[in-house]
Structures are given as C-alpha cells and as structure tokens.
C-alpha cells in the first residue's frame, strides 16, 4: 500500500541519494532518512542491497528498491496520483529523458569526477574539455526537451532535471577546485538559468548541500596520503 512506511538509506553528500529525496518531496511522501556513516556500511544497507552494497536504497514497507534512477521511476509509479508526473507522459519524451539520464551517469559524471582526480595540467585540460563537450550536448538537449518551458520536464521538475540537477553541487565544487567555470551564461546560457531555477525549487532546496560544506567534504575524501 502506498501509505506504508517509507525509509531511505543514504548520505547527505551523495548526488545519487538526492534523486529519490527530490522525488519523494515532489510527491509529498514523508520518509525516514537513515544516514550512513562515511567509510562504513550499516547492516541494514548490506541486507537491503546485497548485490551492490550501495546507497541509495528505498525501503517501502520493508521492500528494498535500489539504483537511484530506478527508485525515482518507482516513486513516480507508486505515488502516481500525487503531485505532478516525474516522467513525461509521451513515450518518445520518456525515451529521451531516459536516454539523457543514462548518458549523464555513464559519460558525463565519469568525466566530471575525473577532473578532481586528474594528475597534472595536461590531464586536467583534457578532462575539462570532455565535460564541456558534454555540457554543450546537454544544453541542446535542454532546449529540445523543455520547448521553451523552465525545466527539461516542462513546467515542473522531472526525471531528467533530477538526474542532472543532483550533480550541481559537485559541479560547483569542481569548478572551484579546477579554477574553471563549466556551466555559465556564456557557454551554457539555458542550463545556467535552469540550474538556478532547479536549486530554488522547494523540492530541491532542503536536500541540496551547501557548496562550502561539500567542498570541505571533497577535500577530506580526495586528500592525498602524506608521503
């Protein structure tokens, strides 16, 4: 029953965890947030996602759902009569949203993460260029999908907004660390404005971590061990 207890196993800094949190907020579904400690995995997590042992995991009446984008679809289908639809209604638009979400996870985010891991200027430059290429594709995708409306999904935040927008905090941290703007009015005018609207959305604001807090956390996890 959709009124059964909802829990989400996650961590404040994870963009993947942010996805189902935004979706639950969009559907006004109350849930208990079970914060994992960085560096260790709880018994509940290991039991609920034995295959990958990763967050996020949604527990709905104790039934586990794993993989962030799969959880978002589950939320949309389970609480379909609540709030606006997270996936677009037309099959072609749904296919586009799913295609771009897969691209973001498989290609775009991998490049973004590689910027912080890059050793030396040459490597950093090469990876920055990859991300910028991706941003140009996503700028066009935004213009195509939104059709003049404020979000990828139209009037309201949807699946693709969530799939991409969850990375905005880490994007800002990476820009600061690399000393290079990736998303800005000159290069990606539509995305730049969309990013502001996304972060301001009431479903997003409470779960988007502050850039400074995230930057401190990034320093900790990417800290090179002393020689």
């Amino acid at each position: 029953m959709s009124s059964d207890e909802v829990k989400l196993i996650g961590a404040w800094a994870s963009p993947f965890v942010m996805r189902p949190r935004i979706a639950l907020n969009l559907k006004s579904v109350p849930y208990e947030f079970l914060q994992e400690t960085f560096g260790s995995k709880s018994e509940l997590l290991l039991k609920s996602n034995p295959v990958h042992k990763k967050i996020p995991v949604l527990l709905h009446a104790d039934k586990p759902v794993s993989e962030s984008n799969i959880i978002v679809e589950y939320i949309d289908e389970t609480w379909s009569s609540s709030g606006s639809s997270i996936l677009p209604s037309h099959p072609y638009d749904r296919a586009m949203a799913r295609f771009w979400a897969a691209y973001i996870d498989e290609k775009w985010f991998v490049s973004l993460r590689n910027i912080l891991k890059a050793e030396g200027e040459e490597e950093k430059k090469a990876v920055l260029a990859q991300v910028e290429e991706g941003n140009a594709l996503l700028e066009k995708a935004f213009n195509d999908c939104s059709n003049g409306k404020p979000f990828f999904n139209g009037d309201h935040i949807g699946y693709l907004d969530i799939a991409f927008g969850c990375f905005l905090g880490w994007l800002r941290v990476t820009e600061l660390a690399a000393g290079h703007q990736l998303l800005d009015e000159a290069k990606t005018p539509s995305l730049s404005k969309w990013a502001e609207r996304f972060c301001d959305d009431p479903a997003v604001k409470p779960v988007m971590p502050e850039t400074t807090k995230l930057a401190e956390f990034a320093k900790k996890i990417f800290a090179k061990p002393r020689a």
């Binding site: 295959v51 709905h60 759902v65 794993s66 959880i71 679809e73 289908e77 072609y92 296919a95």
Partner: protein, 224 residues
C-alpha cells in the same frame, strides 16, 4: 484510418542488444524494416541517428530515433500496449529494471572479460565472478517459468539475449565451463522454456556462426 507506422531497426546480427529488440517487436507482432549494420563500417544513417554513441540498436519510429536497448524496450512497451513485456506492479518493474542493469553491466563485463584473459587462472577467476552474479538470476527463477513470470518479459529478453544466446556461445568457443547443471538447475530450465518461444528462437544468432564470431572478437580484443 490508422497511419501506416514506419518502424525501422538498425542492428547487428551478433549483437545481443539489437537481438532483444527484434524479439520484442516479434512478441508484439510489429512489422519493421531491418537494417544490418557492420561494426567496422558504420553506415552514415547510423552515425547520423546516434552520433554520441555510434551504436546499435537504433529504433526509428515515424521518423524519430530511439537509442539504448533498455530505453527502446520500454518505448516499445509503452507505444504498443498489447502483450506487455514489463510487469504491471511498480515493485516488480523496479526489480526487472534492476536485474536488467546487472545483466548488461556487471554480468556482461565479467562474462566478456572471462573470455579475453590470456591466462587460464584469469579466465577461471572471471568465470567464478560471473557465476556469482548469475546466481542472483537463479534465485529469481525459483517457482517461475520465466523471469517475467508466466510469460516472457523485459528481463527474459535482456538476460536471454545476453547470457544463453551470446555469452554461452563465447564460453563454448573458449572451452570454458561456466554455467553448470548442478549449480544452475533453474537457469537450465529457464533456457529450455525460452527455446520453446518462437519470438525468442526466431531472433537468436545462428549458433555455429555466432561461436566463430565470438572467437574472432576475443582474438581481436586480445591482440589490440
């Protein structure tokens, strides 16, 4: 009067990713034009329709291109609603999607790498990793004819096209024993069930030619 639907599929005969689309189209009785692509000589049409990934399958429906096999399967299911391939219940749908991802990511990677390792120990280690992953599907099959339940569904198409009708051919070519009768009785029973479904068997690559092809791909990978 209904518009004549234009459905075209760009695929590769040996690709499990495009074969599963053929199975879905067949299950739904959808007429389509098939365009055979070549790995080494991609057509201008393919490059125009899928400039980012340059891969098959590409489904073209009334002039619009849909890419990525899972995305295509869901699109087909949502557009032609008869003979549904995804389960109705949201939790079952989430499980089908979860395991489909496991097949195409972890199982595919471990399975393919198990063939390409030069040393026998390396191959055995990867084969063992692959076995551990396939055990999750083994558990899902208990008490069911198919992963989709009583009839072939989304996960059957994904896992079927990938494991028995692709990876197993590669393993046979390498002389690797991965999925054994004693450890995988449910899997074996499932494959026998799949082999009775025309929409599946009509769309699998011919075995001997496929084994030869897999050997060739492994050889090419090893020498690169």
């Amino acid at each position: 009067m209904a518009e004549k639907e234009e459905v075209k599929l760009l695929g590769i005969w040996a690709s499990p990713f495009s074969r599963r689309i053929e199975m879905a189209l067949k299950l739904k009785g959808i007429a389509y034009d098939y365009v055979e692509e070549s790995l080494d000589n991609k057509s201008p049409l393919l490059l125009a329709l899928n400039p980012i990934h340059k891969k098959v399958p590409v489904l073209v429906h009334n002039g619009k291109a849909i890419l990525e096999s899972h995305v295509v399967l869901e699109y087909i299911d949502e557009t032609w609603k008869h003979n549904p391939i995804l389960p109705q219940d949201p939790y079952d749908r989430s499980k089908a999607r979860f395991f489909a991802k496991l097949v195409d990511e972890q199982i595919f990677n471990a399975g393919f790498v198990s063939m390409t390792k030069a040393e026998q120990q390396g191959r055995e280690d990867l084969a063992e990793q692959t076995r551990e992953l396939i055990t999750y599907l083994e558990k899902e099959l208990v008490g069911k004819d198919f992963l989709g339940g009583k009839s072939v569904g989304f996960l059957d198409l994904v896992a079927g096209s990938m494991i028995p009708f692709c990876l197993e051919r590669g393993w046979e070519g390498m002389g690797l024993q991965v999925i054994t009768d004693d450890k995988f009785p449910e899997y074996k029973r499932w494959v026998k069930n799949l082999e009775k479904v025309e929409s599946v068997t009509d769309c699998i690559p011919p075995k001997e030619k496929h084994i030869e092809h897999m050997n060739f791909m492994v050889g090419r990978f090893r020498s690169s």
